[in-house]
């Protein structure tokens, strides 16, 4: 990614301790990271500065994170991935139905998250011709 702008990753997460860890992880992988701690903040960041990759927590202080998938994608954010504390098939199905590209149960192992993010960013750069 040396000859390109670093990819923008938007972390939507209301726990500063968790978003801090995400920032370290994604910055270390060479991405530019923004953090939003609420639905309102995420809408403002995501529309002003659309991200290639959005990491979305579902439980936010001012609403359900899934309500963000559509407006963020409409604003130009490419891949939205849900990171949730709910370890069940129902939540997974809801996230996929809402338009998330993938769903992970927290805590996703650090190494796996970085490896996956490279894949997500690659697929957002070359969208599949469906």
């Amino acid at each position: 990614m040396s000859d390109r702008e670093p990819a923008h990753a938007l972390v939507i997460e209301d726990s500063a301790a968790v978003s801090g860890a995400m920032r370290i992880l994604f910055e270390s992988a060479g991405h530019r990271v923004s953090v939003a701690a609420s639905v309102a903040e995420a809408l403002s960041v995501g529309t002003n500065d659309p991200a290639e990759l959005v990491l979305l927590d579902l439980t936010l202080p001012d609403g359900n994170g899934l309500s963000l998938v559509e407006p963020l994608r409409a604003a130009g954010c490419k891949t939205v991935v849900a990171l949730t504390g709910h370890d069940d098939a129902e939540t997974r199905a809801k996230c996929l139905a809402a338009g998330c590209a993938d769903v992970f149960v927290k805590p996703v192992p650090a190494r796996e998250l970085v490896a996956r993010s490279a894949k997500w960013l690659q697929s957002s750069a070359n969208p599949p011709s469906v």
Binding site: M22, D88, A93, K106, P107, A110
Partner: protein
């Protein structure tokens, strides 16, 4: 009723006294019904609290584990061997706590009837192998051998795969926990024989301590401990079998065990081949 004055008024008294007693009983019954409703409401509040708190615990645990993994993976620079050992301790403790919190959450959801099944068709053998491989390092550490067997050409089951894996995981975890070093545990699947809807019978057995027959029913009950000193010496929430039973029964299956003290244990449960209505 103390005495009968005359033969003439006896029937009236006989009627009056029982109706008085009846009224008292009725009033007491009404009170009891109200009390039971109150207790149920409080119990369900407590269950909801348990579900909320265990879900909320995941967030700080996520922070602890992810930050520790960042250190372990050298993302912020290399660690000395002692630092690495310490960080690995944080991760393993955090992951253990996380899985216990997950068990409490599943238990609370089960108690509040909030667990739903997402049935798919799958081969049971794959689940047995997957769960076994998750326990590989623990088996190696305790020098316990494991065999996974399944009857040839078993039909696929129709069930919630994650929840069936959870049941196998809890039973296998228990088998390993209560089997001394050098022992053997096994996981088997076969077609269930006899009447009833078609089902697969899964067995998780061990050559461990065994369980006295009078405790066979007790160990499936929540908060029940066969021997509190033994459970303290062993890890876990103590909810594993309660959860296993709940998940099996949600599928319309049955779970039971065959065991005697000193002879090891064999746990069995059924998984439906066709979806139960």
């Amino acid at each position: 009723m103390t005495r009968l004055d005359t033969a003439a008024d006896a029937p009236a008294k006989l009627q009056a006294a029982p109706s008085e007693a009846h009224a008292v009983l009725e009033a007491r019954l009404k009170e009891a019904i109200v009390e039971i409703a109150e207790l149920r409401a409080r119990d369900s509040l407590k269950t909801q609290f348990l579900a909320n708190i265990s879900h909320d615990l995941r967030t700080p645990l996520t922070a602890v584990i992810t930050h520790a993994e960042i250190l372990r993976d050298g993302i912020l620079g290399d660690l000395s061997p002692q630092q690495m050992e310490s960080v690995r301790g944080i991760i393993s403790g955090g992951r253990q706590l996380l899985s216990q919190v997950g068990e409490i959450l599943t238990y609370a959801r089960g108690a509040a009837n909030q667990l739903t099944l997402v049935p798919t068709r799958f081969a049971i053998r794959g689940v047995l192998e997957e769960v076994s491989s998750l326990n590989e390092s623990l088996l190696k550490k305790k020098l316990i051998s494991l065999s996974v067997e399944s009857e040839p050409s078993l039909p696929p089951v129709m069930a919630d795969r994650e929840k069936v894996a959870h049941v196998v995981g809890n039973l296998l975890g228990n088998a390993i926990e209560f089997t001394p070093s050098g022992g053997h545990v096994w996981v088997r699947a076969a077609r269930r024989q006899g009447d009833g809807p078609p089902a697969i019978l899964v067995e998780v057995g061990d050559t461990g301590l065994g369980i006295a027959p009078e405790h066979h029913e007790l160990i499936f009950r929540e908060f029940a401990q066969v021997d509190s000193s033994a459970s303290r010496a062993h890890h876990g929430t103590g909810l594993g079998l309660t959860i296993a039973r709940k998940l099996v029964e949600l599928h319309g299956g049955r779970i039971w065990l065959e065991s005697e003290l000193g002879t090891g244990s064999r746990f069995f449960f059924t998984v439906p081949i066709e979806q139960t209505p």
